[in-house]
């Protein structure tokens, strides 16, 4: 027993001790995450591959594996024939050796998925383990990791997950509960079988099979993906998400997502993606189509964390994605939020066709490129309807030898009277071997609309860094904090589940960029 006076001191000292312990833990946790790619491990599982290369036979095989009707196969074949005549686009500010489309697999699925499991309980535990390790629980009683106040499943926020592993969806959670609300959430292969009328009506209407080289390729060979239909007047009772995992070597992932929000419905959809570290680059060419009818709203958030390649630029995912929302209905609203930290090469422009009067499109993006990464990303806002509004906030960060480009289009058609756009794209450079570029296209064809575009490029502010350092932070922490502040506008638009992960990602992918 210590004298009274000293008791307090010891307590204080212990406080400090505890605090120090926590700090050390945090520091170590961050250390263990950083530097190396967190999701770079692979699952050792028996796989079944389609023969290497791309041909009509492969297209037929994929269609057959998915037990598709004739019309779907015809659609794929038409796309394939078209694709054969197309040229890979070269206009983006990305450089990579030519891809050999015949030197990779277009279909890979775990052997255990040959007979489709009736429920998640029947799914190969190894697969479930994979998702668990990624922090994506596929058991309904579990709630997405990292969400505060989620100890009690009944009170916590539920997130339904469709898990796509290489070429197939291994399961979708909360399907029954969603069904009660009238929401259809399943893999697209299932939707083609179970809801052909909806798929037929909407597939390829936002991103036509002829849209561009990568979208056409996807139309021919997409193997799986997610399908969502929210019926009129329904507010989706939980957030929906799809988690894409590339595991197999030398395999491309071609997923297709179709979300239809009927009149006065609402859904928030999250998308995550990771892949193991491999020396050989892998192709990911996805298509996402969103359809919004009158008064519908879709919030689509992505945390893209594909393997970016190693420090020497070896390996990584080539992420060539076409994402587009068609606001067909009046007063419909779509919001794209993306945090792009992964991929060796990114080519991605989530867009909004604002067709309905008073429809709104928003795009919030943080693209971080480190080491040898190259990102060419942005958005297109096509204003067709009256009083349509759009807002673009894009933050690009380049470090190492990376190149980061914002490319965007704002187009006001003559009939889009009284429309409004505001664009802000800022770039931050860390180090003097990287590049930041802005390529906006602004096309205004009526005078009642207002378009504003702002862009700045700067380096991390010395004064801010100095301030942080004078408060005892080391340089890396200080850079991460300043960058987080720079990204705040976008991070705030993310659903909570992602905001935390994204903030961490911002810190991690800048590791090693200081000095």
């Amino acid at each position: 027993m210590l004298p009274e006076g000293l008791e307090g001191m010891t307590m204080n000292a212990m406080d400090v001790d505890v605090k120090e312990g926590v700090d050390r833990e945090t520091v170590e946790a961050v250390k263990s995450l950083s530097g190396t790619y967190k999701h770079g491990w692979s699952t050792d599982i028996e796989m079944e591959y389609a023969p290497k290369g791309l041909s009509e036979d492969i297209v037929r095989l994929i269609s057959e594996k998915n037990e598709e009707p004739e019309w779907m196969l015809d659609w794929r074949l038409a796309a394939y024939r078209r694709w054969e005549k197309m040229k890979e686009p070269e206009w983006a500010m990305v450089h990579y050796p030519p891809l050999d489309y015949q030197d990779q697999y277009y279909y890979a699925r775990p052997k255990s998925m040959e007979v489709k499991p009736k429920s998640l309980d029947e799914v190969d535990p190894k697969l479930l383990e994979t998702y668990k390790k990624l922090g994506i629980p596929l058991k309904e009683q579990m709630i997405l990791a990292g969400v505060e106040g989620a100890e009690n499943a009944d009170e916590g926020r539920k997130v339904a997950v469709d898990a796509v592993f290489d070429s197939v969806s291994i399961g979708t959670t909360f399907q029954d509960e969603l069904k009660k609300a009238g929401v259809i959430f399943c893999s697209i292969s299932e939707a083609i079988r179970e809801h052909p009328e909806l798929v037929k009506k909407y597939l390829g209407t936002v991103v036509p099979a002829t849209d561009n080289f990568f979208a056409t390729l996807n139309s021919a060979v997409f193997s799986d993906g997610s399908f969502v239909y929210i019926p009129p007047g329904v507010r989706c009772p939980m957030e929906l998400s799809t988690y894409f995992r590339i595991n197999a070597e030398n395999t491309g992932q071609f997923e297709r997502t179709l979300i239809i929000a009927d009149r006065e419905s609402y859904v928030s959809y999250l998308e995550g993606c990771t892949a193991p570290m491999r020396d050989i680059v892998q192709l990911h060419a996805a298509v996402v189509e969103l359809v919004l009818l009158d008064d519908a709203e879709i919030k689509y958030s992505t945390v893209q964390n594909w393997f970016p390649g190693d420090e020497d630029g070896k390996g990584g995912i080539y992420n060539f994605v076409t994402k587009r929302a068609d606001c067909r209905g009046d007063r419909s609203k779509v919001m794209w939020t993306q945090v792009e930290t992964g991929s060796a090469v990114t080519w991605k422009y989530p867009s909004c066709i604002l067709r309905g009067d008073d429809s709104q499109g928003e795009f919030y993006s943080i693209a971080i490129a480190n080491n040898w990464q190259q990102a060419d990303t942005g958005t297109k806002m096509v204003h067709l309807g009256k009083r349509t509004k759009s807002r673009i906030v894009s933050k690009g960060i380049s470090a190492g030898q990376a190149q980061n480009t914002y490319r965007g289009l704002v187009s006001m058609h003559p009939k889009a009277k009284d429309s409004r756009n505001f664009t802000q794209c800022d770039s931050l450079l860390i180090g003097n071997k990287c590049g930041a570029h802005t390529v906006p296209y602004i096309e205004v064809r009526n005078n009642s609309s207002r378009v504003e575009h702002e862009a700045t490029t700067s380096k991390v502010d010395d004064d801010q860094l100095f301030y942080c350092r004078s408060r005892g932070m080391d340089e890396e922490e200080a850079v991460a904090l300043v960058v987080n502040g720079f990204c705040k506008e976008v991070l705030q638009a993310l659903p909570m589940e992602f905001a935390m992960e994204a903030q961490q990602l911002v810190a991690i992918s800048l590791e090693g960029s200081v000095g």
Binding site: N432, V439, E454, S458
Partner: protein
């Protein structure tokens, strides 16, 4: 089945209609330029760089005819004490021009080809440098086939500015002018240009500003409407040099003004600005490419356009900051005021940055006239048309403020006010 190649066909048709001037010091440069044109081909509307402006009438073998504009106003800059050089339909006219000898400046004529000339080191050289990374075939075409132009070398600070006056007398005229300007170290020169020049004008100006030199350029593309023009300015700036260019454009069926500037010496300054007022089938394109290749340089682009009755304004501006160009200060603004629902503004304000310690920004806005401001002016008893003119002038003010010489600035502003009033 023959493979259609419109680009090659257009190029061949144009080249067949032209004859290259031979002999003299410029011949090797002309031959090089011809090779460049043949390799690049003339621009095509599918070319990314010509996305917003159709080059067909600039490519055609024959210039589309343009009625000679009956100008009832006093010639521009006539009140200024200047050294006047007059071109009629693209041909130098000594009779109407001042004596070329003037202290501090050495002036020659491109057409007087002799064997040795200082301009040999620059003619086609800056143009060729400006072909990377974006091809500018009409400029190379100009280098190969230019028929006239002036070669100006400033060795000191001439008392009077050089004023190039382009008169138009033949409705079918097609002029190809190529000027070369060298501002020696510490020297300073002001060049003014105005007039339609011809039914169709293809003009190149190569400007080399040595260390501590200063070059000021003021251009007015006036009220004549039917003319077409494609102009290129290629500038290379040495350390601590200053380059300032301002262009006022009112009317013109088709105008494409390209400005390509390379800041190669530390602490150089480049400002490019333009004010354009267009009506009806007016199509005006400002294409600017500024390359920062040295430390601590400043560049500024200010472009304002007022468009009505279906007029089209285009702005393609780019700031390229190379890796070694640290401490760059780059600024770019492009704004359009659309006075009615038929007018169009198309912009592509680009940044390409490879240095980390820079401050670069660009902004672009498009919109209608501010109804509140209009209402305010009208409530003070200003008639609507006058109020609109006032707001147009205030909108253009930021660009007009780029004119350094206060006399020229007030002169051009007064002239602009008159032009606005006459359009009613």
């Amino acid at each position: 089945m023959s493979v259609a190649n419109p680009k090659a066909d257009t190029t061949a048709a144009r080249l067949n209609a032209l004859t290259m001037p031979t002999g003299g010091w410029s011949e090797p440069a002309r031959r090089d330029a011809l090779t460049r044109v043949q390799a690049m081909g003339l621009p095509h509307r599918r070319d990314e760089y010509w996305r917003y402006t159709t080059p067909d009438s600039l490519n055609a073998p024959e210039a589309p005819s343009a009625a000679v504009f009956d100008d009832d106003e006093a010639p521009l800059f006539s009140a200024h004490d200047r050294l006047k050089l007059v071109f009629v339909d693209g041909v130098f006219d000594p009779a109407q021009s001042d004596d070329l000898s003037h202290a501090g400046v050495e002036i020659g004529r491109l057409a007087d080809a002799s064997d040795l000339h200082w301009a040999r080191d620059l003619y086609g050289v800056l143009e060729a440098r400006g072909q990377v990374p974006v091809a500018r075939p009409l400029a190379a075409l100009n280098t190969a086939f230019a028929t006239d132009g002036v070669l100006i070398r400033a060795t000191g600070t001439p008392e009077r500015p050089v004023s190039l006056v382009y008169l138009h007398s033949d409705p079918e005229s097609d002029a190809t002018l190529h000027h070369v300007i060298r501002v020696e170290a510490g020297a300073s020169l002001t060049v003014m240009e105005h007039g339609p020049a011809a039914a169709r004008l293809n003009k190149v100006m190569e400007v080399d500003v040595a260390d501590n030199g200063a070059f000021h350029h003021i251009r007015a593309q006036g009220r004549d409407h039917e003319r077409r023009a494609v102009t290129h300015m290629f500038a290379r700036l040495g350390s601590e040099s200053v380059f300032k260019s301002f262009t006022l454009t009112v009317n013109g069926v088709l105008t494409r003004n390209e400005c390509v500037i390379e800041l190669t010496g530390d602490d150089a300054v480049a400002h490019v600005a333009g004010a354009a007022v267009g009506d009806g089938d007016f199509h005006h394109d400002d294409t600017v490419f500024i390359t920062h290749d040295a430390m601590n340089c400043e560049s500024r682009q200010v472009f304002k356009k007022v468009l009505r009755n279906g007029a089209t304004g285009v702005f393609q501006g780019k700031i390229l900051v190379k890796q070694q160009a640290q401490k760059t200060d780059g600024y770019q603004i492009s704004q359009a005021l659309l006075l009615d629902g038929d007018s169009v503004f198309l912009a592509k304000p680009e940044l390409e940055i490879y240095a980390d310690d820079v401050a670069c920004s660009h902004g672009s806005t498009t919109g209608a006239i501010d109804e509140t401001a209009l209402f305010y002016l009208r409530s003070r008893g200003v008639p609507r048309a006058d109020a609109e003119d006032l707001l147009v002038l205030s909108f253009l003010a930021e660009a007009m403020a780029e004119i350094e010489d206060p006399v020229i600035a007030s002169d051009l502003t007064t002239r602009l006010e008159g032009w606005l009033a006459r359009r009613r």
